[in-house]
């Protein structure tokens, strides 16, 4: 898309969606931290690191939401969002393929989803994160090109 205003709006909407997602799941995981830790400990990938991850993950989500909130750090927020979504998607894919018993460690409303629904949800958000970063880079290049081509008075 060559319209920088539209690109800008898309970046803002996607960032807001990620802020909503991360603040919601971060708060949910912290308020049910004990349950979350118990379920994580049942995962073959996580096991003994469950206590560390049960604190680290929601705090990372909330910090990422903070980075997305401020324009100066939005790019870093989008990059971390993409990384987190790739990790979550990989984890869910592994659990679906490799394990027979699937616990749920999701927060709030997401707990109502099945594992395959959650996988589709994560794939969608991973794509959104990648798309917003791509728009971000396009907008930067557009602005840089226009700055260079400006003829001084």
């Amino acid at each position: 898309m060559k319209n920088p205003v539209l690109n800008g709006w898309l970046i803002e909407i996607i960032s807001a969606l990620f802020i909503l997602l991360f603040v919601y799941t971060g708060i949910s995981k912290l308020s049910e931290q004990n349950n979350f830790r118990v379920v994580l400990s049942q995962s073959p990938l996580i096991g003994s690191k469950a206590n560390l991850i049960s604190w680290l993950l929601p705090i990372t989500e909330l910090l990422t939401a903070l980075l997305l909130f401020f324009p100066m750090t939005k790019k870093w927020g989008l990059m971390i969002s993409l990384a987190l979504m790739c990790i979550f998607t990989g984890y869910i894919s592994y659990m679906i393929i490799a394990t027979s018993h699937l616990p749920c460690s999701c927060g709030g409303v997401l707990k109502q989803m099945t594992w395959s629904q959650h996988l589709k949800f994560n794939i969608l958000f991973t794509a959104l994160a990648g798309l917003s970063l791509w728009f971000y880079q396009k907008n930067k290049r557009f602005i840089a090109i226009n700055r260079q081509s400006r003829i001084p008075a």
């Binding site: 803002e12 909407i13 960032s15 807001a16 969606l17 802020i19 909503l20 997602l21 991360f22 603040v23 919601y24 708060i27 949910s28 308020s31 049910e32 118990v38 400990s41 049942q42 939401a65 997305l68 909130f69 324009p71 018993h101 616990p103 709030g108 409303v109």
Partner: protein, 105 residues
């Protein structure tokens, strides 16, 4: 301010959704006329192993920390009925409506 508007709306919505969708935390009975009745639960799912066999105190091998669910408590009267034995009331879901829980030591 305009550039922060969408972020503020997102945060407000997230906090609002969290308040409505998180399970209620009731660690102790509301008043002296209610008591907690304990049911042993499945370690993985948290479902009651025997919904017609509630106890007035939790099993000895349950504690505040552990890797599997051990026992969950519901309030009597209200969520539990009594006819010589304590039963989980109809419409009560022990996986979401519990008032306290312990883990296998």
């Amino acid at each position: 301010m305009k550039k922060y508007l969408m972020g503020i709306i997102a945060i407000v919505l997230a906090v609002g959704f969290s308040a409505f969708t998180l399970p209620k935390a009731k660690p102790s009975p509301k008043n002296s006329s209610t008591t907690l009745i304990w049911f042993e639960v499945d370690g993985d799912t948290g479902e009651a192993l025997d919904p017609d066999n509630g106890m007035t105190s939790p099993p000895l091998d349950c504690g505040v920390s552990g890797s599997d669910y051990c026992a969950r408590a519901l309030e009597y009267p209200g969520e539990v009925t009594y006819d010589g034995q304590y039963h989980i009331g109809s419409g009560v879901d022990i996986t979401t409506d519990y008032d306290d829980q312990l883990f296998k030591n």
